[in-house]
């Protein structure tokens, strides 16, 4: 679907994107244009401040912690073996040790640490043990942010993953699969579904490019608005006739409808103004094309024949998006990271979560020689061989994250980089996967959040410091300050 609002006329964006790809399975995205779509605040003569973005990147099954944690704290720290792929961006990081997600623990509920670790990871809440009825945990930090600042961008938030939810059987010891498959919770009872196909993410961000001119788009928005009005009224009437349990479901429906309506209304309000800006921006983009594209991307600067709306741009890097799910896991992960960078730099959203696999995932990682399942291996029982293999997975995933941080840093924005204006968290809800530990979690935070985080450090916190304290500090920097989230007991005061 295409939405007629955004920083740039997205259809011309798409047209240019499509130009080089021809018919078929891939979309080539022309990146220089993106500058024109960048946040209004970050552009222009006025020294406005770039908005802060936040991403939460999750990996499952914990890590081999003594090979993860840097040996020393402070600014002179050296990276561990597992984190060594981050060496090139070490100065952009804070490695944070000692944080805990206490609500991942059993607390009388018996087994199911995997489900609990994912469910509590961004919520700091204790999930209700249920296979079906009364799923409940708590609002996650990304949704707390989206709730406050989501209205400023086209998409309030973006939820990504690379694995579908488990399709059969249970997920973990009597816990609904919703807990293992989701880290983002809109509220205590509604997990945010995640998108796993790169092409569908792209279409969600920028549309399919199939729509016609602006008149058609206005018309379609009118149609959509009419449809949503009608079904919202339907839902209201239906809701009145239902009991409290069924109402919960209709409320979920209603929330989704309302968000779509708001998005269309916002589009109507902003379209005209932005259209004028886009015209100006396009000429500006053309002028600074060389500089932009050099900064934008170092990869595959392969001429796709120019573009209609940014004539004169010759170096158009490509983002090839296959249909469906890429066969190669690393490619899949990197495409998702590319799309996150795109979403942030075009200010299409400021909040994103990404699950590198579902919790308890038993994926294999043949690209680093691991053909056993991740979860199976994580119960290594101190077997040296298994530990080695787990660490290979840990390091592989860290190297993917390093790619993301590098891409974020490669985008210049205002006086600095996109990364400078972001907070990118990388971590797991378990530390020792063998023993299902929920404390001393592996956490890395990249980016300076507009200068309010002092990077290049390894900070150790005292045992049992709630991970949610970090989240409160992040929400402050997102202009979404919150006094309490999950089990937070305060803020981390020494990030800055």
């Amino acid at each position: 679907m295409t939405w007629n609002h955004g920083r740039l006329d997205r259809r011309s964006f798409l047209r240019s994107a499509r130009f080089g790809a021809g018919v078929g399975a891939s979309i080539a995205v022309g990146l220089p244009l993106l500058e024109a779509m960048a946040p209004r605040l970050a552009r222009g003569a006025a020294p406005a401040k770039a908005p802060v973005r936040a991403a939460f990147v999750f990996f499952p099954n914990g890590a081999i912690m003594d090979r993860w944690t840097p040996p020393s704290a402070g600014s002179g720290f050296t990276l561990s073996e597992t984190l060594s792929p981050l060496e090139a961006v070490k100065s952009e990081l804070v490695v944070i040790s000692g944080l805990a997600q206490d609500n991942g623990r059993a607390k009388g509920d018996g087994p199911g640490d995997h489900a609990r670790s994912a469910a509590s990871f961004l919520t700091g809440a204790h999930p209700v043990k249920t296979a079906g009825a009364d799923i409940r945990v708590g609002m996650s930090v990304d949704q707390a942010a989206a709730d406050r600042i989501g209205g400023r961008t086209r998409l309030p938030s973006l939820e990504l993953g690379i694995e579908r939810g488990r399709q059969a059987g249970g997920c973990d010891s009597g816990y609904s699969c919703a807990y293992s498959n989701s880290i983002s919770w809109k509220n205590a009872t509604t997990p945010m579904a995640k998108e796993i196909q790169p092409r569908l993410v792209f279409e969600r961000l920028f549309g399919t490019g199939s729509a016609g001119g602006s008149r058609e788009l206005r018309e379609r928005d009118f149609f959509r608005q009419s449809i949503l009005d009608l079904v919202a009224e339907d839902a209201r009437a239906l809701r009145r006739s239902l009991g409290p349990t069924d109402r919960r479901k209709i409320d979920e429906y209603f929330t989704g409808i309302r968000e779509l309506e708001q998005r269309i209304q916002r589009a109507e309000q902003t379209t005209r103004q932005e259209r004028q800006e886009i015209v100006a921006a396009n000429s500006a983009a053309a002028n600074s094309a060389a500089a932009n594209s050099a900064a934008a991307n170092s990869a595959a600067a392969n001429s796709a024949g120019g573009s209609s709306s940014a004539a004169g741009l010759s170096a158009v890097p490509k983002l090839d998006l296959p249909d469906g799910i890429p066969n190669d896991q690393a490619t899949h992960i990197r495409l998702m990271f590319d799309l996150m960078v795109l979403a942030f730099r075009t200010d299409t959203t400021r909040v994103c979560t990404f699950m590198l696999a579902n919790e308890g995932s038993n994926r294999t990682y043949p690209m680093v020689g691991v053909t056993e399942g991740h979860h199976q291996l994580s119960h290594h029982q101190s077997n040296r061989d298994k530990i080695e293999k787990i660490q290979k997975i840990d390091k592989f995933l860290a190297s993917q994250f390093a790619y993301f941080v590098e891409q974020m840093r490669a985008v210049s924005e205002g006086e600095g980089t996109l990364l400078d204006h972001s907070m990118v968290l990388y971590g797991s809800g378990l530390s020792d996967g063998n023993r299902h530990r929920h404390d001393d979690l592996p956490i890395v935070l990249a980016g300076r959040a507009g200068g309010s985080i002092q990077t290049g450090r390894h900070i150790r916190y005292g045992k049992e410091t709630p991970l949610n304290n970090l989240f409160l500090s992040m929400l402050d920097r997102l202009d979404a300050a919150t006094e309490q989230l999950g089990d937070s007991s305060g803020r981390l005061t020494d990030l800055g």
Binding site: M1, A131, Q167, A168, C177, A178, R224, N434
Partner: protein, 939 residues
Amino acid sequence: MMPTARGFAVPCVQSVAVPCARPFMAPPASRFVRRIAWLTVCGTFLAATWPAAAQPPGTAQPPGTAQPPAVAQPPANSPSPAVASKRATARLPALTDHVQPLLARHCFACHGDQKSESEINLARYRDNAALAADRATWEAVLAVIESGAMPPPGRPRLSEDERRGIVRHLERVLFQLDCDDATTLDPGRVTIRRLNRVEYNNTVRDLLGIEFRPAEDFPTDDVGHGFDNIGDVLTISPLLIEKYLAAAERIAAAALANAESPKPFKQVRRGNDLKTSGSARPSLFGIHTLAGPGAITAEFDAGRAGHYRLKVRAASPKKGGSVPRLELHANGAKVAEFTITALAGQPQFYEHRLKLEAGPQRFAVHYADPAPPAAAPQAANPAPSNPAPLNPAPSNPAPSNPAPSNPAPSNPAPANPAPADEAPPVSVGAFELEGPLDADVAASSGDGVSRIRLRLVLPEGGRSIRDAAHDTLAPLVRRAFRRVPRPGEVEAFADLAQRIVDRGATYSKAIEVAVAAVLVSPHFLFRVERDDLSASPMPATTAGQSPAGKTPANSTPASTAPPSTKAPGTATAEAAAEAAAEAAVAGGVNSVSAASRPLGDFELASRLSYFLWSSMPDEQLLRLAEEGRLRREEVLLAETRRLLADPRSRALAENFAAQWLNLRGLDEVAPDPQRFPRFNAALRSDMRRETELLFDTIVRENRSLLELLDADFTFVNQRLAAHYGLSEVKGNDFRRVSLQGTVRAGVLTHASVLTLTSNPTRTSPVKRGKWIMENILGTPPPEPPANVPELSATQAAQPDATLRQALEIHRRDPNCAVCHQQMDTLGFGFENFDAVGRWRERDGEHPIDAAGELPDGAKFSGPAELVAILKEKKAEYTKTLSERLLTYALGRGLTPTDRCAVDEIRRRVASDGYRAASLVEAIVRSEPFRMRKREEPQP
């Protein structure tokens, strides 16, 4: 201690120091305890195994000390104990009447004051209250007595009556449930369910002929209770709403492109509909004339692509010798030429057949140079036999002119051109477009071929846009919402179409938008079961909807409901039908407690069709529901059989069986390509297909469900046959082959099950055993503790140990032994099948040892014998399958209050030779399927 199974021959069950569950069982939260007792017993065979004890070891409670009420808290769906006990305990026998003497005779020797195996002392409970207060323990007791695991082998068995007596008593005490007393029954309540992805795809297929499976792009449906159709778990994220809207737009566009109009339909443009240009002049009576440069133009909208017939009604006043000619232009290009021989006052139709794309069309006639004087007789006297004027009978649907480019038959070229007179004028009265003429033009929509199409009613012949939209949408709304539309419902969509037209869109676009709106409506996306409607008193005004003679003979809860529960404002036809049918049926189903109601006919139609087809009800089901007949038992059962016989019931294999047997988990396995180079995506899909086909065949041929465990036939294609070492099958198509004389029989030997229960590099007897315990025997073992004792020392000391030896060492730890004893034994029985299900005699250098002895003493030497043993576990298997299929059919997890229904279902199945249809029919007849607990709306 190595607790071999031989130990079980001794009178008292061999003591295992610590029950497997205990070390990581925390003090019981009520929900957790419930789950243990209902789902988790580690010892159907393994008598020594007890799930969570209610108290920590060593804190045995003095008899009579009541537990805190929290422990006995009932499940959310069961009546509160206070209320229920008034019902059920009024006639409840004392514990000491029958049950305690039985327990004393059969149980106290091991679980009494003298000896308390596994910390269980049943002698210390003096009365029903004490028993109810320790629900956790007694639910476990109930489970093992019911399954026959207790008393253990070697001890005197309970007679069937004794067993049943204890079970019934415990059900009454623990769940306030008396299967023989309908007033205690509770059919449960299904949370409003949205369509899941499969159901969405199937529904739009059956609704509009959409075959492109739009829900493939939707986010995955979460799984609860083992299935992806559980109302409580089917959440709706904003992302999903976006997808719904996008899919609805796509479907609506395809439906319109593919719409079916009344065939062949005719659109007429005359009078002011026609536009003139150049020398063309409108005149009185709507007749336009053309005598020189210029055109008369008409616009149409072709509902879909296909062949059409365009007809122009024209005549020419006789004037001189020349015959006027008109050029027909379609969308700007000349497509035909007419020679106008009809005389003024006797206009004729001139027609041309042509192929059109869907959408707006513009036709024009231009004046061409007159033909030279034609043969006088023809021109002057267009007799009826003259082929030139065409087909005055537009009702003839057969294309009369098969050559599309052939204009109206021209006269033979005259040899003697007459002097050009003044050009004779042509009068044009009307344009008509008929079509599409072809029956099958769906191929023009690239998305899929439809069998069922939207029937488009056009605003013509004085029918307003709103009325036409209404008539187009009314049948769609009825089918999309799977019930009779309520007053105003269709009108709202028709109004939407009108607004869209008002804004300047075409009629066809307006219908498209309205169709999209129908597909985003909550009444389409959710399967709504409204308690408020059927609570309405039956109005007398809708006799047409209510079956005759269905006055509420029984005073049902519905008819005694207070007026305040009446549906706000409307006593709709549906409400009336529901109420009437409810009254009619209440006598058929056991009369029920006031908190429940029978489902309405439409609700039942959807339950049935989504159960058996994963799709919407078809026309017959809807019609039976409309007539109020579906809830009659004989009709319901006949429909059940009809739906089962329909090919769409393959959904049971693809959705139910694939989830019950975890076949969808195959998508997640990744056998090590080095060890299993021939495993690939195609083989993975073949494996799943084989098992689905076996299940489907058992359903379709109404075979015994036990055959699933040991069928002597299966389905393979060439690839799978090669994998199995069966050679005679060629090609990609599956065919049925005999397994007699082979090592395989039944699903437990299917590559699907064997692969999905393996690790990427090796088999996992533990997973295989667990799979059997969970899915076949219904006794899933508890999860292992996180910190399992480390095996590394053992493995380091004995690097050459076989897997079996390593696991035996593992089992020396009593923490592990209790559950692994059974899991591992079952799993090792299938060790002859490797991690992708191929037969093998050796694992590396070790010969396979697939022999074993189960805790109940049954011995086997390999997979075939183990399969035979499992097949004899009819009661456990049937109970498991009944519970799973009922869960799937209802879309909710089962609760203790469903026990009576499950019991009834398994009895019916057993008494009918375990036939597949008997299971499906028993479920359809069950109270949880046909009824629901009310949940009144709250202001």
